[in-house]
Structure formats: structure tokens, C-alpha cells
Assembly symmetry: C3
């Protein structure tokens, strides 16, 4: 199959043209208009954001204070998650020396589209009123939409610099759709707990992106090698992304957990796990260089692995030292992944993974899923109390007689579902993206903002014409490109 794809690819490649003047506006307008129509048909305020319903709810439930509105439980976390999606993911992808516009800009575009589509898709699966056929949205829906789109942004990490914005709109359209389905299977049918999305977001998003990247393999990508790396300041920009992801990860994992001790405990566990990832990342990064120098790639990415791996178990009673151990291990695993697995995948599996999402999302996410399964399986009434077990694992309704052990099994099954959705979905979407109509760049034109952005002339457009000693030096320097012409009279 790889061979067939390669042939097809080299045929298609001859026609590569990054002019997206027709396709990009077309896709944007078409999808945005579709969103307006579908929102008009389906989406309504929920009873805590609708003025009439909130007044009725307060009266009905004897709520004496507006502070009981879910807004005040979740809005601060929502804003933190929002920052992670747009600044965190966006700036993390500015690390390439000449693809910072594309990193932060296309992240912005696809996230803004994705959250709209996510409100619909997740609404149809989770919040459709069977009587009125309307979807009710509130602050928790906004958080979930941000979560949903995160999986597509993770996939973008593998594709960064190699695809057109039109392709990324396709990736997001299908990514959000697949997410809503796998999430429904994992959370509703298997009744898993996955508040921070180790399974649904990171495992799915990671394997989704890897599968797409595998199908889009570019044998001659080395022609763009000169641009596939960072510059000093672009690495500092990327640290903005890293730090906002790292700092707000406790909010990410706790944003939709249970009110009260649920949110409280989740934030603590995530905070603790992340601190320990930093130390092991630094240790392995230093060990791997013969002079002990640190690699910014590791610091920017592997330090976050603890947050990914705690996505499922942070709301459980994993204990503070359990969190430390998780962060400790995945920090090592993730850094080792950047050192050895990514080059291996590229060389032997023909898988080009620009940001190394395999090491930051796919593997830590999968491990997080299994860690969650184990922690759930060992949950005891002694630690949680009977009521605590019921609340934490939602052992209610048709799941009232599920035991922690069984729950652990289902959690593990959920992780496998996420992997399967990612791989199969990604392969299918990858095939769609191989159509030669999406405006992706040629192999020698990747990682270059010039393809899709009007890039400024740059710093030295200040006319620097200087004559000296029979030499005339015209200098039009660009932060990325320098052209010298030295004329001798």
C-alpha cells in the first residue's frame, strides 16, 4: 500500500500549487454558512444561561444565590483551557524558524472552526433534547468544544509545515466528527471516566495525526531540511506555548470533573505530576548529549507529558506520590521518544512527525488511559467511601452495580477504542488529503510561511545602501534570508 500511495503521490506532486485563493475562501464560507444554518436549527441556551429558564430553575430548586450557576464553578477553568488551545498549542508550534505564522495562525483558524462544529457534534451525541430536538449549550459545552478541537490541533502537530490550511480544515472537520463518535462510545457506551481526555483527546488525536502523516509520507522532504528546525527567538516563542500549557494543565484536567473535591483533587494531582516530568525530562535531555547540553525540543514538549498521562486518573484518588511517579516515568518515556523513537519512525516506518506528537500525546495518552484503568480497578470503598465511589465513577442508573474492577476493564477497552479510531480514521482522512486539489506545498517548499502568508520584507528594509572603498554593497536582509551583491568598480 505504501508503494501504491507513493506512486500516486509522485503523480500528484507534479501539480503542486500552493495558490489557495479559491479553495480556502470557498471552504471557509461554505462551512461557516453551514454552521449558521445548523446553529439556527439546533442550538439553544441551556437553563443556566437562558434568562427565563434560569429564573425558573432558581425558583424550582430553591436556589438562593446566583453563585450556584455552573458558570462560577467552571468559567475560570474554561478560560485557562481556552488559553491552552489558542496560545498554548498555537505558540508551541511557532518553534520552526520560518513557520511561526503558519503555526499560530492556522492553529487559530482550525480551532475557531472546530469549536463550532464540536458544539454541534457533541451536542447531537450528548445534549440533544429528545422532545424539542434542540441542543442546549452552557459553559461546560464550551469547554468540551475546546477539548474536542484539541485532538485536531494535536494532529496538526504531526503535519505542521507540510499541509495547506485547506487540508487542515478537512482534518478538523473529520477529526471533530470522529472525536464525537469515539467519545460517545468511550464515555457513554463503555461508561469510562476520562475528564482530562488521556484517551479521547490525546490518544485519539495523537494516532489520528500519525496515521494521516503516514499516509502523506513525503520521500523527498529532505529538500526542505534547511527550514525544518528552530531559530533562537522562535524557540523562545515556543516556550510561551509550553509554559501556558504546563501551567494551565491542572485546569484542563479539572475543568469538567465533579464540583467540589473532584475539581480540587484533579488540579492537585495534575500539578504534582507535571512538576516531576520537568525533572526527568531535564535529566534525560542532559544525559543524551555528550557535553550534557539540554535540548529545547525536550524542554518544550516532554515536560508536558505528566499532564497528558494524568488525563484520566487525575480525578481518582491516585494519591500525590502516585502522581509524582506517573510524571516521573512519562517524562523519561517522552524524552527517550524524542531521542530515539521519532528518528526511528521516520527512517523505518516512513512517518514524518514534525512536532513529535507520538512522544507527547500518543504514547503518554495511551499510558494515561491504562494508568486510569489500573487506578480505577484498585479503587476501594475504604478510600473513596461508598458515596464517593458512586460519585467519582458515576455508578448510577444502569451502571449502578458496576464494580471498580469491571470499571478498570472498561477503561482499558476505551483506550483501545481511541487508538483504533485514531489509526483507522487518520488513514482514511489521509487518503482524502492526497487528492491534488488542496494546495499543499511541494517537498522543497515545506515549513515555509512564504507559501501561504505575505511575509514582511523584514527588519532591514531600512535602505542600507552603503558605498565604501570602491565597493557597493546592496543589502536586503531578511531575518531568514540574506542576499548580498558586492560590486567592484
Amino acid at each position: 500500500m505504501g508503494n501504491f500511495l507513493e506512486c500516486m503521490g509522485s503523480f500528484f506532486c507534479r501539480q503542486k500549487n500552493t495558490n489557495i485563493r479559491i479553495t480556502l475562501p470557498f471552504v471557509c464560507f461554505l462551512w461557516q454558512i453551514a454552521m449558521i444554518v445548523l446553529f439556527g436549527i439546533f442550538i439553544r441556551y441551556d437553563e443556566e444561561s437562558d434568562v427565563r429558564q434560569w429564573l425558573e430553575l432558581k425558583e424550582r430548586n430553591n436556589i438562593t444565590s446566583d453563585i450556584e450557576n455552573d458558570f462560577y464553578f467552571r468559567y475560570p477553568s474554561f478560560q485557562d483551557v481556552h488559553v491552552m488551545i489558542f496560545v498554548g498549542f498555537g505558540f508551541l508550534m511557532t518553534f520552526l524558524k520560518r513557520y511561526s505564522f503558519g503555526g499560530v495562525g492556522f492553529n487559530f483558524l482550525i480551532a475557531a472552526f472546530g469549536v463550532q462544529w464540536a458544539l454541534l457534534m457533541q451536542g447531537w451525541f450528548h445534549a440533544l433534547d429528545p422532545v424539542t430536538a434542540k441542543i442546549s449549550i452552557g459553559v461546560e459545552s464550551l469547554i468540551n468544544a475546546d477539548f474536542c478541537v484539541a485532538s485536531s490541533l494535536i494532529a496538526y502537530g504531526a503535519l505542521l509545515g507540510k499541509v495547506s490550511p485547506v487540508q487542515m480544515m478537512i482534518v478538523t472537520l473529520f477529526g471533530v466528527t470522529l472525536f464525537a463518535v469515539e467519545e460517545y462510545i468511550i464515555l457513554n457506551l463503555l461508561h469510562c471516566r476520562d475528564a482530562g481526555g488521556s484517551m479521547t483527546i490525546h490518544t485519539f488525536g495523537g494516532y489520528y495525526g500519525l496515521a494521516i502523516s503516514w499516509v502523506l509520507y513525503r520521500p523527498n522532504l529532505h529538500q526542505s531540511k534547511r527550514l525544518n528546525g528552530s531559530a533562537y527567538h522562535s524557540d523562545v516563542f515556543a516556550m510561551i506555548g509550553t509554559l501556558f500549557l504546563w501551567m494551565y494543565w491542572p485546569s484542563f484536567n479539572s475543568a469538567i470533573t465533579d464540583h467540589g473535591s473532584g475539581q480540587h483533587r484533579t488540579a492537585i494531582n495534575t500539578y504534582i505530576a507535571l512538576t516531576s516530568s520537568v525533572l526527568t525530562t531535564v535529566a534525560i535531555s542532559s544525559m543524551s548529549d555528550k557535553r550534557g547540553k539540554l535540548d529545547m525540543v525536550h524542554i518544550q514538549n516532554a515536560t508536558l507529558a505528566g499532564g497528558v498521562a494524568m488525563g484520566t486518573s487525575a480525578e481518582f484518588m491516585i494519591t500525590p506520590y502516585g502522581s509524582l511517579i506517573v510524571g516521573f516515568c512519562v517524562g523519561i518515556i517522552s524524552t527517550v521518544g524524542y531521542l530515539f523513537v521519532t528518528p526511528f519512525l521516520e527512517k523505518y516506518l516512513k512517518l514524518q512527525d514534525t512536532c513529535g506528537i507520538h512522544n507527547l500525546h500518543a504514547v503518554p495518552g495511551m499510558l494515561g488511559g491504562f494508568i486510569g484503568a489500573i487506578v480505577a480497578a484498585f479503587a476501594s470503598e475504604e478510600v473513596y467511601s461508598r458515596q464517593g465511589l458512586i460519585e467519582t465513577f458515576d455508578f448510577e442508573g444502569e451502571f449502578a452495580d458496576r464494580t471498580p474492577g469491571t470499571q478498570g476493564g472498561f477503561q482499558a477497552a476505551g483506550t483501545c477504542v481511541a487508538i483504533a479510531f485514531g489509526l483507522v480514521g487518520g488513514a482514511a482522512v489521509g487518503l482524502i488529503l492526497r487528492l491534488p486539489i488542496w494546495g499543499d506545498p511541494a517537498d522543497d517548499n515545506c515549513y515555509d510561511d512564504e507559501a501561504y502568508w505575505e511575509v514582511p520584507e523584514d527588519e532591514d528594509s531600512i535602505p542600507p545602501v552603503l558605498e565604501y572603498n570602491n565597493h557597493m554593497i546592496h543589502k536586503h536582509q531578511d531575518i531568514s534570508e540574506s542576499n548580498f551583491s558586492v560590486e567592484q568598480s
Copy 2:
């Protein structure tokens, strides 16, 4: 009048001198000392921040929990707004290749002064105790002060790079004063609703800045053309501003709306409108370039238009799809403004608008005012419930018998008041700024941090003296300036 001003201007220009060693410290000290005196006379804690009064209030109103303190309803939103004012506006204005210090630094200065003056001005109009003649401040006052100063920061956008910090202190002094008056007229006398300030903040601030810029027209500004543009990294810095504005705009619009469903709904509507602005901005930006390339100016600015345009109506029951439509339209209008209107204004109306605030604030703000009028006029008891109408539109006291239709009329009138205040006030302030004592730069010296900042020698002050093959090359390179001297022996 334009002619007269021009003559006067060319007379004054001969004396241009950017040395502000006397004026800037004088203004800073004078105004800061005035603030201390006026704060001493007028400003006190309100009953939720004063320890004695809060204890009394709890007892009097039978408040059982400190969580009922307004601090917990508003503080998270306040901090988001605060970030918008200092990082959002500040970094949005770093986009010029050599005016990043001035962009973020003077924004910092004038915002820090402005909020103090705003606490006083808004206090006198809205929170003066008639008995004690004291102003009570709490967290809502801080938010309102941030809002108030936003209008002056918007005006700074039109003037960026062309005025001295002393002039900006003047602009802010009068801007805050005018704001407090027009706000009093709009919110109290006309009894409009305008929680996110489409009228009071954006319309007023936009036209205020445009009028000043028009009076300060510089016919020879082309002499600074080489610096009136971005560099690669300065565009990435500006995206920090854009994204923090974009992400936190739901907090901006909801910060002072009604507790409970009011804040909840406002945040949702703003979030939704913003997403749709992003897609139409991208679409129009791509369509406008012959190769379909995106322009960073549009992405940095027009994506925010949805937030501006929802400033009035976000707290109403505009519906989610209504919000999408608003964002859709203003995204287009704003981008088209950057493409055609700004050049037109400069060429035919002699109006130089550095950041294009006409397209991001003036027009979307004005539209937001009228959208608010329409949505208010169509408010029905069926949708809001009787009590909901009263709470949302404050149909209480002397306004108890106002109907939604009437309210719509007043909202529209309020928008016109904001425009008028902006234009007239801005023209007057512009005349004051033409006095040749404020240290503004000459026409060939605009957009240059060198005028007001000690700019570092820069990256290559590392002595790079190299001898090679009878050549000696001394290189003192600066990120902005390169000097080459090639000596042949």
C-alpha cells in the same frame, strides 16, 4: 480649517524636538500627585472590600458565606480584562518593526495613569455618596476603570508611532474625562445597556482616535515609510496581543453583566461570534491576494471584530446563531476595511490610522451599537419572561414602564452620542496636541523607538572582527540596521 491647521503645523514642525526630559517627568509627577490628593479626598473602600462594612453587611443581609462577596463573581473576569488591557492592547501594538518598545511601553504608561483617573471620573458620576461626598470602590470599579482606559488605548492605535508619550498622557486625560461624561449620558440619562461597551468604549474610542489623527495629519509621513511596517518576529509578538484579546473577550463583555445567567449568556454569545469572525477574515484575506496568501494585519485585527460588535447585544437573548451571523458579517466588513477603507481614508480624507482602528473599533463598535438597538427592540416577554426583561434591561424605578421598542430607540441614540463625543472631543484634543511643546517626532522620525527609548546595540555587539584574505570586515549589526565597511588592503 484643514488648511489653517496645515500652515500652523508646518510652522510648528520646524521646532520638533523629541527631548522630553522635562515634560514627561513633569506630567507624570504632577498628575500622580494630583491623583494622590484626589484619592485622599474622595476614594474609599466599598462595603464589600471594607472589613467593618462587610461584616456589617453580612449580618444585616443574613449572608452566610463569604462566597457571596462580589469579588468571587467578578474577579476572574477582572483579571482577564486586565490582561486584555496591558498584554492584549500592548502586544497588539508591537507589530511595527522598530516601535515595539513604544507600543507595549507607552500602552503600559497611559493605562496605568488612565485607570487612576477613571476611578475618580467614573466615581464622581456613578458612585459618589451624596451625603459623605466619598466614592466607594470595589472590584467592579476596577473593571470599569480598565474599560474606560480601553477607549484611550484604542485612540492610541490610530496615533501609534506619531505622537510622544506626553501627548498620549494628554489624550488619556481628556479621553477618560470624555468617556465618563458620555458614559453617564448613555448609561444613566438614556438608560442604555452596554456591558461590553460597543458604544461607550469602541465607538467612542475609535472616533476619538480618528478625529485626533485627522487633526494631526502629517503630509510628509511617507518619509518614515521604511519603518511603517512589520518584521517577522514583531508580527509574532503582535499575535500574543491578538490571541489574548480574542480569548478573553468573553470575559470583557461579561465582566459587569448581571450575576447568574447574564454573565453566563454573555460569555457564550461572545465566544461564538468571535469564532465566526475568524473564518470570514481568513476568507476575505485570502481572496484579496492574487496568490491567495493571508495578510497578518487582517488576522491580527479583523478576527476580533466579532467581540467588538457583540459588546452591547451579547447580554441579550440574541441566540447562538444570531451571534454567529454578527461575527460573520463584521469579520467581512472589518477585513474589507483594512483592504480598501484605510487606504481611502489616508488618501482622500487625510486620515492616517496606524493600526486601522477604523476597521476594528469605530465601525464594528457602531454596528454593535445598532445591533444592540435592534435586538433590544425585538425583546419579548415570551423569550425573556416578565422578570427577565426587567432584570436584563433594568426596567426599574423611573424606567419601569419603558418598552423594549423604546429601549431600542434609546440604544440607537446612545450610539450616536458616542460618535459625536468621539468626533468633537477628538478634534478639540487634536488641536491641543498641535502645540509645539509636547515633543512629538518629526515626519521622518516616526515609528522609531530611537526617539524615546534607549535602544540596545543589539545582537551583534559581540565584536565580530574577522580578517580574511586581505579583507577586514567590521560589522556592527543591529537587528534593524546594518553597517558594512569593507576595507581592501
Copy 3:
């Protein structure tokens, strides 16, 4: 003693080698494993984050709503503080032209280690259950851990560019330990109030860093002078740090103050003091330059002095104008410090203070401690009410009969304790750091990321080989370094 140290130093210096491939991973692994073991033995969830205990607590205390969980009082402030620690301090230290990786990266490393150790140290002193010998942690513990590590990050400011990451791990290990002890003495034994840590954090951290730097004096540091300065873009990066510190300082000071009016008032006071620091900083900075130009160093640092100086008194009834006056004065003092005191200290006291923490933390912190003492001493029942005095100053239990006057005395004593701990502790730690095994850089190799980081080839690794008119110009340009070879055929 200075002489003895110098001799010892010059002996040690001969062996300077920045290879930390053994020591850094060793320290990271050792300490992280120690943390896991100690967390396993000691640390448990508190009763608001443990699911069983929270359910019991709600029942026992008749708590009807989860919103009463301390999480909702403190989590938004916690996240703001978290941003200050990692982005605020981190980016503030990116201002050096070639030490941005080290600034933000080592800040990240030591903060991540420090908070773990702080949870333990502060836990042993403040939250150890005498029966079970367990430490209970909740969101307030996380805030306190962030606070605790801030003192070590302040110390890093004095040492920036001159020490190895291994040394910084040592500084943090001892810094956190000393902090916990002095905090115990100040807050528990002397029963001072110091919610924003003027004494415990800034005074201690400032003098701790200065004492270390004094012991580590490098007589030949001028050899690295070319790198001891900023570049245009590194100054803009540093403004990210400045602004996030400035904006979130109200959260820093109010994060652990009393629920209700306590947090509310603290935020207001800090906000007000900070605005006034900005104006006086700008005034003094402009006055000090013969053309009135502003210095970025002052804007980046002295504007924050108001926050530091309000760390103790912000929770008291200092009044809004009182806050303005504090900000006014310390803005001047701090800027004057940067202008005159730092050069003086370096020349005459042999004290090299990279970031000028003397002017931003040590002195404003100390002043803040004494201001707090004065404000406490003048607290009256008339202003606070009897109950308010008890709540604000914790005049309960064995301190029930303390008067405001006595309290003022103890506050002043607390400040002296903080200074003493900083100076003595710092000197001792400095001696440990002089051992020639920690991999610190040689005098001509300071302020250079090359020592500990794999620095990218940079922007122009795009092969720029150009032939023109018998000249071949090979250019390998780096944003920091340019090498030219001009061959004439």
C-alpha cells in the same frame, strides 16, 4: 574573608568546565526519587480535596453547596500566581541577548523542583497532623509552594548567567528550606501577617540572592561584558514577564488572605499601588537620561516595586490613597536603585546583581515589611471594628490580647528576621557553591546559552552561498553571531 574567597576562587576557576552530563541528571534523579519517597510517606489530600473527607465535611458542617469548597475561593488566584512564577519570573529573565533559554528554562526547572520540596517543608512546619504524622495538602498549599519557590527565583535573578543549573538546584534546595524556617518564625512564632510576602518572600529572597552573589564575586566578569545586555527582541520578551507579573500581582497578594473582604481589599490596594509605581518609574527613568529617553530596564523592573512593597500591608485598611503613596515612593526608590545603587554595589561592594534584585525585591520588600508594621501599629477598632481587627490580625488563641501597637513591633521584627536569614543563609550557600564541582561557567563564558543548551544554528542556516562578480561570499549568520568570509578570486 573576601580575600580568602578570592584566592580559593582563582584556584577553583582553573578547573571550570560546564559539562554537566553527570551532575545534572544525577541531581535531578536523586532529588526526584527522594521527593517520591517523602511524598509517599507524608503527603495526603486535605479534607476538601479527598472525596471521602469532603463528603463527611459537608455532612458534618451542613454545607449545602460545593461552591463552599476552598477551591472556588482560591483557584483563580492560584492560577494567576502560577503564571507569575513560570511565565512572569521566567520571561522577565529572558532579557539578556543570549541567555533567554537559560532565563526561562532554568527558571522552569528550579520552580518545578522547588514546589515539590516546598510542599514538604511547609507541610512539616504548618500542616503536619500530630497524630498521623501526615501532611494534608489543598489548593492553598499549592499557592504557598509557589510563593516559597518565588524566593529562590528572586535569588536566581542576582545569579542569572553566572551559575550552572546544578548550582541553581542547590540554591533552591537550601532556599526552600531556609524559607520554610524563617516563614515559621515570622508567621507562627512572631505571629506576623504577611500574605503577599514582602518579608518572607521578597526581603528574604532578595538578600539571599545578594549574599550568594557576593560570595561568588567574579573579578573578571567584564570578560563576558559583550553578552551582559539586551537585544531589541529580548527586551520585548522580557516585557511579557513584566506585564504578567504586574497584572497578576493583585492575585499574588490576595491569594491567601481572608475570604470575603480580605481578598477583595488586598486586590484593590495592590492594583492601585502598582499603577502609581509605573508613573514615577517613567518619570525618573526619563529624567536620568540627557535626552529624556526611557530605559527598558527600569520599565521592566521598577514598575513592579509597588506590588512588592504592598505584600504585607495590602490586606490591611491602608486606604486607596495610602496605596498610591506607597507605589509612588517605591517606584522612585527602585528606579534610583537601578541608576545608582547597582553600579555602586558592583564597584565598591563587589556584588554583581544581574537583574538588579536589590532594587526590585530586597529594598522594596524590606520597606514593605516596615510599611506593614506601621499600618498594623495604627490599626484602630474604629476603622476595622473589633471583629474586623480579630479577623485581620488573627488576634485569637494565645494572641488574643495582642494590641495593634504590639503587632506593629512584631511585624518590624519579622522583617529583620527575613533579612538575617537571607544574608546568613545566602553566605553559607554561596560557600557551598564555590566548590569546583558544579559546572559553572568561566568568567569569559557567562551569560551565554551555548554553555548549557544546544543553540540552534539560527535563521540563516538557509544555505546562503552566493556568487557575484568574482566574489564568493559564504555567510553563516546567526542572530547573535556573524561570520563573514569574502574570497577574491
